[in-house]
């Protein structure tokens, strides 16, 4: 295998399985896009009259779909840990004797650990999509036959658009759909909020099937998924477990360390002058991010400042801020709790988004470009402000990228929040184990032991210093942390890359290597 060093100083393979790879050339290298394949989903003119897309059973659906060994099938993750469709499809295809499949989910959850036997038996040969938990660990051990690909939400949409990720069949679980294939996620017993992650798949996959447990008469509206892109509609008893699709109410952290980081983050945003009238922000649904949203809202309230919009996953906390008038609108990619689902269904200011609109790399700008502040997490950061969100320090692949790099590379100010160590594992490292997001697009790192500001952003540092915020250099922070935790050993890797980490433009920024002694 030929290896080349990319612009981030990481060694990456020149080609994998006969496919030539482009090395990362910089966060905004402006390399012109190329079409890897012609769009597959160009259909012949439809016949006159109503098309009959309803199929009677899983067997009929799978009989009618053209799927062979080595096919690529895709799924969305709006049903999260409650999803039943991924396993249903894979187990039925396995029973039909298919092998060597590539699965391309937008994300996987613990319930999908049940895919492991299909990986081991060769039914699944590759995963192009986030690999979490047991699937990620199996990938780290080298159990997945082909090299997997990790992409951000925007990167995945781009790969589909350019034909790099060619999908043979998209299976779109839909809480509400009509017999024509129009579908949404805001109604029905399995309501999950937006359905946007499935939109690129519906537009470009060679064959598209909607699986629904909430069949309604035509026209189903809103049509997050347009029936014109859908070939088959299958009605089933249940697409998922509602208890696990959305949590009751998102609970705020009580961890004093997380609350301290959240408070510092909000203080920084105000001190840096980012909290202006009409500003916008993105904060995830993790413990620190939610708490930071609450802290920020308190400061907005006290200062009489309103935000024009918040972007990303929606929770009760954002919904309440919308109702209070502190937010002009919510631009929502996925709803995490029932309050967010209801708000998405009923409030016109709660806007359903999709990966192209939110994060599209081949766009003339996306929602993330309109953000003043993005608050994101990390499993590791390093002295160059580089961020790892995929692997842990022991080398295990345990997380997907999500919208991390899309938001980081597009927002006006990118803030990473993380404790400086977890249990005794230092988070501030000399060099990240895996590079997901380059330091050139990371402005600020907030930990419980102080705020580190990228030297490129002297403007931010000046304002933070004047406000009396505790500023630290990453070098000092790392030394302090190592004093507490002791120095960890390095994981031992074999040469074989088990997964490519793609930058948003499709270039390879790093690889995840197989663990030698997992």
């Amino acid at each position: 295998m030929d290896w080349i060093t990319n612009a981030a100083g990481r060694s990456v393979p020149a080609e994998i399985g006969g496919r030539k790879l482009k090395p990362f050339a910089g966060a905004i290298a402006n390399e012109s896009p190329t079409l890897a394949a012609l769009p597959a989903a160009l259909r012949p003119l439809p016949a006159r009259g109503r098309p009959n897309k309803l199929v009677a059973s899983w067997d009929e659906l799978l009989d009618r779909l053209d799927l062979r060994d080595g096919a690529t099938i895709s799924f969305h993750h709006h049903l999260r840990d409650g999803d039943r469709v991924v396993l249903e499809v894979v187990s039925r295809l396995a029973a039909r004797g298919l092998r060597g499949l590539t699965i391309a989910p937008t994300a996987l959850f613990p319930t999908h650990d049940a895919l492991l036997p299909y990986i081991r038996s060769g039914v699944i040969a590759a995963v192009e999509g986030s690999m979490n938990g047991a699937i990620g660990a199996a990938c780290s051990r080298g159990e997945i036959e082909k090299t997997c690909v990790l992409r951000s939400h925007g990167g995945r949409q781009r790969a589909i658009q350019e034909g790099e990720l060619a999908i043979d069949a998209a299976f779109i679980a839909a809480p509400c759909a009509d017999p024509f294939g129009n579908a949404n996620g805001v109604y029905g017993k399995s309501a999950c909020g937006p359905l946007g992650y499935a939109l690129p798949d519906s537009e470009r996959a060679r064959q598209v099937a909607v699986i629904t447990d909430g069949l309604v008469p035509y026209p189903c509206q809103p049509w997050s998924i347009k029936g014109g892109n859908v070939d088959y509609v299958l009605q089933v008893e249940s697409i998922g477990d509602p208890e696990k699709i959305v949590s009751g109410t998102t609970k705020l952290t009580r961890s004093p360390t997380q609350l301290l980081i959240a408070d510092l983050t909000a203080r920084f945003i105000e001190a840096a002058g980012l909290m202006r009238e009409g500003f916008s922000f993105q904060a995830g649904a993790g413990g620190i991010s939610l708490a930071a949203t609450v802290s920020l809202a308190a400061r907005m309230r006290a200062a009489g400042v309103k935000a024009s919009f918040a972007h990303g996953g929606a929770t009760k906390i954002l919904v309440d801020l919308l109702a209070e008038g502190l937010l002009g609108s919510i631009v929502d990619l996925q709803s995490f709790d029932l309050d967010a689902v209801r708000s998405c269904a009923s409030n016109p200011r709660h806007i359903e988004s999709d990966p192209f609109a939110s994060y599209g790399p081949r766009s003339a700008g996306c929602v993330a470009n309109m953000l003043d502040v993005a608050i994101l997490g990390a499993t590791e950061v390093d002295l160059g402000f580089n961020v790892n969100v995929n692997t842990h320090s022991d080398g295990q692949l345990l997380h997907g990228i999500g919208g991390h790099t899309d938001a980081a590379a597009s927002a006006g100010c990118t803030i990473i929040t993380a404790p400086s160590f977890r249990k005794r594992i230092p988070i501030v490292r000399e060099r990240v184990t895996t590079l997901t997001c380059p330091g050139e697009v990371v402005d600020v790192i907030v930990t419980e032991r102080g705020i580190a500001i990228n030297p490129r952003r002297a403007d931010l540092a000046d304002r933070a210093r004047r406000a009396g915020l505790p500023l630290v250099t990453l070098e000092r922070l790392m030394d302090e942390v190592l004093q507490i935790t002791g120095a960890p050993e390095s994981p031992r890797f074999a040469d074989r890359p088990v997964a490519l980490v793609q930058w948003r433009d499709g270039t390879v920024i790093d690889v995840v290597r197989q663990l030698e002694h997992p």
């Binding site: 004093p256 594992i425 004093q483 002791g486 050993e489």
Partner: protein, 444 residues
Amino acid sequence: MAAERFFAGAKAKSDCLVAYEADQEPLEVEVRSSVGALFGAAIAAAVRRVAAEFGVVRGRFEIEDDGALDGAIAARAEAAFRKAGFARIAAAAEAAGPAAAPVAALRKPSSKDRPRRARLYLPGDQPHLAINAGLFGADCLIFDLEDAVAEERKFDARILVRVALERGVMLGSSEIIVRVNPLSGPYGADDLAEIVRARPQAIILPKCESAADVAEADRAIGDLEEAAGMPRGFVRLLPLVETAAGVLQAAAIAAASPRNVALCFGREDFSRDIRAVPLAQGAAPPAAAAPQSAAAPQVAGASAQAAAAAPAAALAGFGFAGIPGAESFLARQMIVLAARAAGIDPLDSVFADVEDEAGLIRSCAEARALGFAGKGVIHPVQIPVVLKAFRPTEKEAARAERIVAAFDAAIAEGRGAISVDGAMIDAPVAAKARALLTQYRGEA
């Protein structure tokens, strides 16, 4: 016949459960850890360092770890070896690496003048709660060996706290205090013997009922200080009064030792001791009786605070007894009088309902109105609320500024008697105003 196994520690985050079993084979250390891939060798090395300090060369040692720091590992190993009958043969500093450089030696003696507005209680046997405790801005950190530690954990806890004090990692600039068990009971003397040499800045003496209780602790601590080569009087005392007998002796207790830097009141135990049954227990709305957060360290029950949160209207018609907290008013005033007469700060009880911020604000305002200089807190989220409540107001600061200006002008002009807003100003009044201003400006 299976050899006896000696356990210490717990299966908990940032902690480890260890087991030692004597046999004739050379010492074997078996590590199972959630961070084993990164720290497996470091964990085994930490155990072997302690084994060397205790002369343990044979036997079998198992450790089940969930990310404990070296200090916690060392404390748990020491506890297991001591239970098995080993005694220390080498100082920790000789066997340990530079990471364990004792910071205890750098700790300065405390004084009665430092602020003790928010004092955070940390259960002595839970390392994960202590890890970042120095970051939250508490005036005092109290490692609790008394109510927060179950009987069967007392032995492990006092070693863990001693090691935390010796290594001093992450304790920040807060005053370092240990609440020992009462000297009248079976654990107090052992607590002191373990803790004093690690140079805590102060010790809280619970269940103080007489000047003799304080004098006994004074003597015992003095002997231990001498044995450890520390200056006699280094360790200060905060007597904790929480019984009827103690309240009646408060004045004598407050004046019983030059080590005394503050006098604390314990409301939960006091209310129990006088057998007060708050009216509000029957009258409180359900919301006031909501269970407290499971994440909150348990220091005191929530019943008295639930009573304090009950709306006054529900208790109308009961007269004085209907005022929330009435059962402890006299006692708290006596604590304030005793402390102030002895020239030290009176400190109020904890507020146990972590979820009830409004209740905490009320409780702080009430404590301040009675003359208390601080509150106990059981969760870091309470700290900023308490600090704010005990912070001088703008009005107080403006008045202090006028006093200082008038006093300084009078001194410069060689004038004698001066007054501000009709009140006479002398040197102590001016000094107090200056201290208040420093505090006010420091937090602005």
